[in-house]
């Protein structure tokens, strides 16, 4: 719906592309191309939609050029490459499709800037699997929620929209029990509307696995001899275990990108195994908060088009999956790639790694780089300058992004299609 007032237009029901929640109830005012969030925003949305329209021309090694010159140069560089890397991949479904096509064509490796988190989840899914739920189901049914290693502050409206949502269909949000387990978590948002405080178990992030495992052992009827586990009293865990068994619909929430230590996938697996054990007698499910910048979309699209989730290499003419070797960091460190195409179209404060190889950077206008890539092309923002699709963090729901204003910048999709024709 749009209403016009002088030179400003108000657009309702705007999906926000700037984190993986993709809240779709924003009200945005467009005043001659400058956007302000009027309702239902958050700090991140306000900043991201409010990014001023800046002038940014394509450059070749820092020198201004035309868009056609930049496209031709990019195509030339890619044509000459024997081992290209497509990294960043901060784009929507529409942008990711030509990425896959081009990667297949010229034998590239693809990796997303937030793939570390995604891969922790992939490993668990591939090994013992999991039982997961959606934002709607948590909102409507959950009576017990554990936040493991995250306080969801990077996902500002999660608690407001999903936990303390008075429109819950089948449960009273006020009755929800909230538990935080982890290090340096801000737990104030876990206080109920009527002031009920959450349970907080402070431990290091690496110790979450121990606590989850002991909870699992207690619930499975085992006798624990230790008085303290990761600094937490056994009696506290025994009480918690009992509450979990009595829950009607429990959820354990984690943010895969925030469990940032070696083999964090084992922690996620412990969470998922505990969830599965509880489903023997009651309803319990896992829920993951994934990174933004389109990582869920990139991961899913890679899986359906190539057969493998991130990180995929096409150099042999068919897709090969290797999460260790094919990371951006390792490929650059081991000098296994000779060219980098970096894509980041949601925000101007994301920097590609500096790679001493020919680099093509497609990024949001206003991006300040600390090096001069061979080709820089400013690109349009999905959900702002052009419509598109993004898959939400719970992976079940995808949303259609809106075009809010006209832009002189090309979308990643149009740009890559042009480059594809020339390669």
């Amino acid at each position: 719906m749009k209403t016009k007032t002088q030179q400003s237009v108000v657009i309702k029901d705007v999906p926000c592309p700037f984190c993986s929640l993709i809240c779709d109830d924003l009200v945005i005012q467009n005043k001659e191309g400058n956007l302000t969030v009027k309702e239902n925003g958050c700090a991140r949305a306000n900043t991201s939609f409010g990014q001023l329209v800046v002038e940014h021309t394509p450059t070749l090694k820092g020198k201004h050029c035309s868009i056609d010159e930049a496209i031709e140069a990019a195509a030339r560089i890619l044509k000459q490459s024997n081992a290209p890397l497509f990294a960043g991949l901060g784009t929507d479904i529409g942008g990711m499709r030509p990425v896959m096509q081009l990667a297949d064509k010229i034998g590239a490796t693809i990796d997303h800037m937030h793939s570390d988190g995604a891969i922790r989840n992939t490993l668990v899914l591939q090994d013992l699997g999991w039982v997961m739920t959606t934002m709607s189901e948590i909102k409507n049914r959950a009576d017990f929620i554990i936040f493991a290693g995250t306080d969801t502050s990077n996902y500002s409206r999660f608690i407001e929209r999903v936990i303390w949502n008075k429109d819950s269909l089948f449960s009273d949000p006020e009755e929800r029990k909230i538990v935080y387990i982890g290090d340096k978590l801000k737990t104030s948002a876990g206080k109920s509307p009527r002031g009920k405080l959450p349970t907080v178990l402070k431990c290091r992030q690496e110790e979450i696995n121990e606590i989850i495992s002991v909870l699992h052992a207690i619930i499975a009827g085992n006798n624990i001899q230790q008085a303290k586990i990761a600094g937490i009293n056994l009696s506290t865990l025994q009480k918690l275990a009992e509450q979990m068994k009595q829950a009607k619909y429990g959820v354990i929430v984690w943010a895969s990108g925030e469990l940032n230590f070696p083999h964090a996938e084992l922690t996620i697996q412990s969470i998922c195994e505990l969830v599965k054990y509880l489903t023997r007698t009651t309803r319990f499910a896992g829920f993951t908060l994934t990174g933004g910048d389109g990582v869920m979309s990139a991961n899913s699209l890679s899986a359906w088009q190539s057969g493998f989730p991130l990180r995929v290499n096409f150099s042999l003419g068919f897709p090969k999956h290797d999460i260790g070797r094919n990371s951006t960091k390792n490929l650059l460190k081991n000098k296994e790639v000779d060219t980098m195409l970096w894509i980041s179209s949601f925000s101007s404060n994301i920097n590609p790694p500096e790679a001493k190889i020919p680099s093509i950077v497609l990024a949001t206008p206003g991006t300040q780089l600390n090096f001069k890539p061979d080709v820089f092309i400013p690109v349009a923002t999905p959900g702002v300058d052009h419509s598109g699709q993004l898959i939400r963090t719970d992976s079940v729901v995808s949303l259609h992004l809106k075009k809010l204003r006209d832009s002189k910048y090309m979308s990643v999709s149009s740009l890559l299609n042009r480059i594809n024709e020339l390669v």
């Binding site: 096509q101 190539s306 989730p309 999956h321 995808s398």
Partner: protein, 199 residues
């Protein structure tokens, strides 16, 4: 546009044609009778030595949607064991039990299928299922709205809501998710197929 397919060997069981060399005429996308000699044929394809059959239809094949993609992600060994190299005309892919979408489309076309239907499109996941089907080349695609375990639908049944209300919900779902028809589990089908009339 009038097209002639000449000299192909036709198999058409429905009309009792069992391997006869025949010409086929297509007018604006539909098969038609042999036109009068005076009518100009716009394009002729020589199909001598080739077989002509009606394209097969797979009415129940899991080709798209979140659950198929979960399957793909859970089968790295299956996918590693079945790589499909790109060719001049086709893209690469892999997989046997749950192949990548492009591989699935190509394989169906190789087998002579022209239409494939995803039988279990979760309404909430419709958009992704459509995206995966859009990335399945060669064949026409459609899907069925899986409502057999839909909470709202089951509540309506349990509350013995009137047929109109249930039909409205089902119709709305099918329309909103751009699917072809309703899909129910066997038990629900047997119990209610006679009592639900869906337009």
């Amino acid at each position: 546009m009038l097209i002639k397919l000449s000299g192909g060997t036709v198999y058409d069981p429905v009309h009792g044609i069992n391997g006869e060399q025949r010409d086929i005429y297509i007018q604006d996308g539909s098969i038609t009778r042999k036109p009068a000699a005076s009518v100009k044929i716009d394009k002729t394809y020589n199909l001598n030595g080739k077989i002509i059959m009606a394209g097969a239809i797979d009415i129940h094949t899991h080709i798209g949607g979140g659950k198929v993609n979960i399957a793909r992600m859970m089968l790295p060994e299956d996918h590693r064991a079945d790589p499909v190299s790109k060719t001049k005309l086709t893209r690469s892919g892999c997989g046997h039990a749950a192949p990548s979408t492009l591989t699935a489309g190509y394989r169906y076309a190789e087998m002579g299928y022209t239409s494939c239907f995803e039988p279990a499109m979760l309404p909430a996941n419709a958009r992704q299922a459509h995206m995966e089907m859009a990335d399945t080349p060669m064949v026409d695609k459609g899907a069925y709205a899986m409502l057999g375990s839909d909470d709202f639908f089951l509540r309506m049944l349990a509350a013995k809501q009137d047929r109109e209300a249930i039909s409205d919900y089902v119709s709305w779902t099918i329309n909103a998710t751009q699917q072809l028809l309703l899909k129910l589990s066997i038990q629900v089908e047997l119990m209610h197929l006679n009592s639900i009339n869906v337009n």
